[in-house]
Symmetry: D2
């Protein structure tokens, strides 16, 4: 039984962490912080937690957080980096669900996030928490940069092609669609029901912060530069990401289905669907699975990969718990057994 | 570990039973039948169950079902009653999620369901499976009539008022709103996304089959006849029932909040919210809880009760598992620990 | 051709007014104000208006507004009352879509709206703009208090019963359900897609501002005090109100269908459906109609009235245009010919 | 004033035609057929049409249809081709909203639609009804093949690039997302609200019937073969198509914004948004416009085109009315002035 804390518990990744940790048999949730909701019962803000979580939100205090074995940051970008050095010094394990430690190059980070990095010296020791590529490093890590939601769906979808070097690496295309919860719980006109339902649109086509994160991961896998066009879209639903990936095959005779099944044969949370399938986002709603199908519509030509996750689970809180399980030596799927809700 | 079977596993109550039983630590799911999907893998029809359920749909055969300790019927009305006598004779416990055994009077049943009852002799021994009123009888029962979704939400909401006899029993009003999953998974124009989303309407105002079921339950609690107007509505979402209940108070000074808290103080699955609350259906999405708030907007006057459930869980499959737990002597909440998904 | 202005054009009633007035053959839209969006092209904020509206938002200036024949206020409550006296003096006709002039009693207004009324002397001359009860007064009015959305649906539904005095006037119940656009376009957590979709809840059960407005209207029609319980709910869709109304019949033999058809036989925008019908909110989406069905589920007993409108049209902007048409002597349905979008 | 008929009026393109034609000042709607709903009032099936359409559905009879000047087919694929020869002989103008006359090659048609073509001799005289490429031919045509919904959005988006030959024509990618109304009004499990809402998935990745239609159009424009990967997706909303198009630029210095604005400068129904825009499907909900934005996210590289339509209007019934207007010499936008509903 380990003691865990959550910094910034009022957003959607925060409440999802609460849901998962409240049911985790090896975790005692000790602290959950929020500046704006200090003193309020967590279950008053999120009534689904009535009877499951007895905590109140408290001010973030380094002292109390240092009593935890693991601290999760479910804060906006730029917050974790101001507190991480102290927690690391105190021996606490940290899992940051925001972007502060995802990019290895502090200049690239500053360019995309608009502020200087507060502790660039920690970028090297931060481990990118995608277990399917980094499990051993995660096991030994003290600081985890939990991947973004789009980067999780897109990288898991592209990895087999990129690692096997069977596609034209200069012209990868990722057309990704996200449910609205990806935009968070803050009040904003654009994500009101009346603006975002019965509507579909692309956004950030000139450049989205997840582009350098995805490219960094794919380039590591490819061991060479990668040309990527990434277009995110907002789709009128709460949870789910569907990434549709396109790559020109350099080896058109390769059996893609076998390639994908082999790559993920030991990955509990990556499910390669039978040939000809079309994964539905709802098949992973509330679950930590990524489901993938790979197609080759015309002879030779283009590989089309369909990759779905729940952005709040495998794309955020679930993957964070998976990383914690690995770091702590627990069974990797502990506390992550939920079956997706259909319908 | 008991062996369980499901007859009629392709509808929404069927897949919800599968989800709950697949995670139940004391149940081995042995049989799931479907005439139309015979031979097909369950996880092919419901991909959320991939990795959790290995069964294939099979033809319903009494012989195989008799090897189960408990058989659930998730069939259309009128099916269970043709098979129940054989199963009962074989000592199998039966939980019928349809309406076949809910009404005590076979003539009333025939009037509302349009066909003669196939085994009226079994109506007496059937126990109405609302644990909050019938726990002892359920424990001893072999045949459970699992309550309807509206009847669960409406009865749990009205019971404290009716049992305490503090309202005008001749003019009860239940204005109920249901998500579309209440209409089932069969192909039908009226429940297409393009017909039922961005839309709201009442239906069956002249008379709905759940009216006699609710009235029967309330009259038992009141030990007198009850006048009830019940108007169901379809609301554009998948899961959830919200019952708004109105009753004229005959004792306007009664502390309704205390009355409700006392009535349900020992009921794990009924949660009385603090005074002034408005329960949200999403606070019980995927969970077996019923959350209730009670209001008295004007001095004296009218009690307004707000009662929410997930129609597929407390209103169907979850309550069925709760009943099975009681019958088997398991902890009543075993396998029902899921926290509602928010958002 | 009259010149019209809109004060406060960035909310949902504002953009709906723009949509309707842009297509109105007798209106030239001259001014649209917004403090926050000053200088921005209207069609940039609302791209559906590209090619239809060339205006930019401007600061509200009394001088420019006084050049209009009719000025609409689509502002928050409490704004119109600070500008109306000047406009009235200048001979401008004013239609206020907010609540500033709806209640005749300034003390009741202050009690429900929380601030003193800025120009209580104008409450008497303000005409409540429900054409189906007040057409002659509207024709002669200079200042119109455009009714609220719930009050429109509820009053139109109750009026025939109340005017004919065939129900128990002490126990009226209005259970109303609104789409989320009723909450407006301002950024707020509670109306985010991720909070309000896949969810249903009541709100303001202890008391909603539309309660005194509805009661005032019904008491005028009844020429006596009225006891009303009003419970509003939020339903997960953009547009539409469905009011389900309950009243105990004092004359159970009255032919309610005939009563309703007679009452509204000359009302173009009130459509009494055939007996046994259940109106759908989508049947009026984007249209200025109110559709009503009346039921009497049990012999004697209770009348159940179902009344649907589009809250942004007959419940706001459409009714405002209808009032303008009456005031100007235009055909009452001019510019209001749109057929509801189905699907 | 011309007399018009609709064959097959019970589907979504049928009711949308009804909505548009009921408000068209130069059309008298004389006949609407349906085998299944014969004798039923149209406004009973579609209550939005109450007060606007007085017709009843009738059996399709060639005699009555021949009295019309224009007959629209809103039937399933394969129906129009059995009746068109007789209507053409009688001098009736025919606009087929289904696919019967869209492909020029009868063998390709048979391959994709699974049955032999009933009147291949008419394929040559059929004019593909995309006014933005074929206006002159449409003006002179007697038989119009109204384009499919995806083909309209994708072709209008690609045409400027393809006609100007500034992209690699062998690797075009069209990632398209459609609202559920594209699947029609027939009862089907897959498009139930409970299956299709809160969900997103691709379908028909191995091959969709609109692929050959799009390719035919693009090859005509390019005057050479074209390599196209087309992936359709279902998005949880009623109306709208968003096509996201990718093409490698062969001339990276070309000013794409200027190219698009020039190409469509005279097209009333094609709206090129300012540089940097992201069109929303709701901005065309209920309207006949196509809105397009063109991006070039990285230097050189890839053009990303975003093209939105309402699949039932510009993608079906609205384009059919536009074609009728052209054929009859009416103003092209007559009866098509509706402004999209926002919100």
């Amino acid at each position: 039984m380990i003691r865990a804390g959550i910094v910034g518990g009022t957003g959607y990744t925060g409440v999802e962490l609460l849901r998962l940790l409240a049911g985790h048999p090896e975790v005692s949730l000790d602290v959950i912080t929020s500046r704006s909701e200090e003193g309020r019962e967590v279950a008053d803000l999120f009534p689904n937690l009535r009877g499951h979580v007895d905590l109140r939100f408290s001010q973030p205090e380094i002292g109390r957080l240092c009593e935890c074995e693991t601290v999760f940051f479910a804060t906006p970008n730029g917050t974790a980096m101001t507190m991480v050095p102290q927690l690391i010094s105190a021996g606490v394990r940290v899992i940051d669900l925001a972007a502060d430690f995802r990019l290895k190059d502090p200049e690239t980070w500053e360019q995309w996030y608009g502020i200087p990095h507060a502790c660039p010296d920690y970028l090297d020791q931060a481990v990118y928490g995608l277990p399917e590529t980094n499990r051993d490093a995660i096991r030994a890590a003290q600081l985890i940069a939990n991947p973004g939601c789009y980067p999780t769906a897109v990288q898991l979808g592209f990895l087999p092609l990129v690692e096997a070097q069977v596609v034209d690496m200069d012209g990868l295309i990722a057309d990704a669609k996200s449910g609205v919860s990806g935009a968070g719980r803050k009040a904003a006109t654009g994500t009101l029901l009346c603006e975002a339902s019965e509507n579909f649109n692309a956004y950030a086509v000139p450049g989205h912060r997840h582009l350098p994160e995805i490219r960094q991961g794919l380039e590591l896998a490819a061991t060479r530069p990668v040309g990527l066009t990434f277009v995110p879209h907002l789709t009128p639903m709460i949870r789910g990401i569907h990434a549709t990936l396109y790559a020109r095959l350099s080896d058109p005779d390769r059996d893609l289905q076998a390639l994908y099944e082999a790559r993920y044969s030991n990955e509990y949370f990556v499910d390669i669907l039978p040939a000809g399938s079309h994964p539905e986002t709802r098949s992973v709603r509330g679950s930590n699975h990524c489901r993938i199908a790979v197609h080759q519509p015309q002879p030779g030509g283009v590989a089309v990969v369909l990759s779905v996750i729940d952005n709040l689970v495998k794309g955020a809180a679930g993957q964070a718990v998976q990383n914690m399980n690995i770091m702590q030596g627990f069974n990797e799927s502990l506390g992550l057994a939920d079956i997706a809700l259909i319908p």
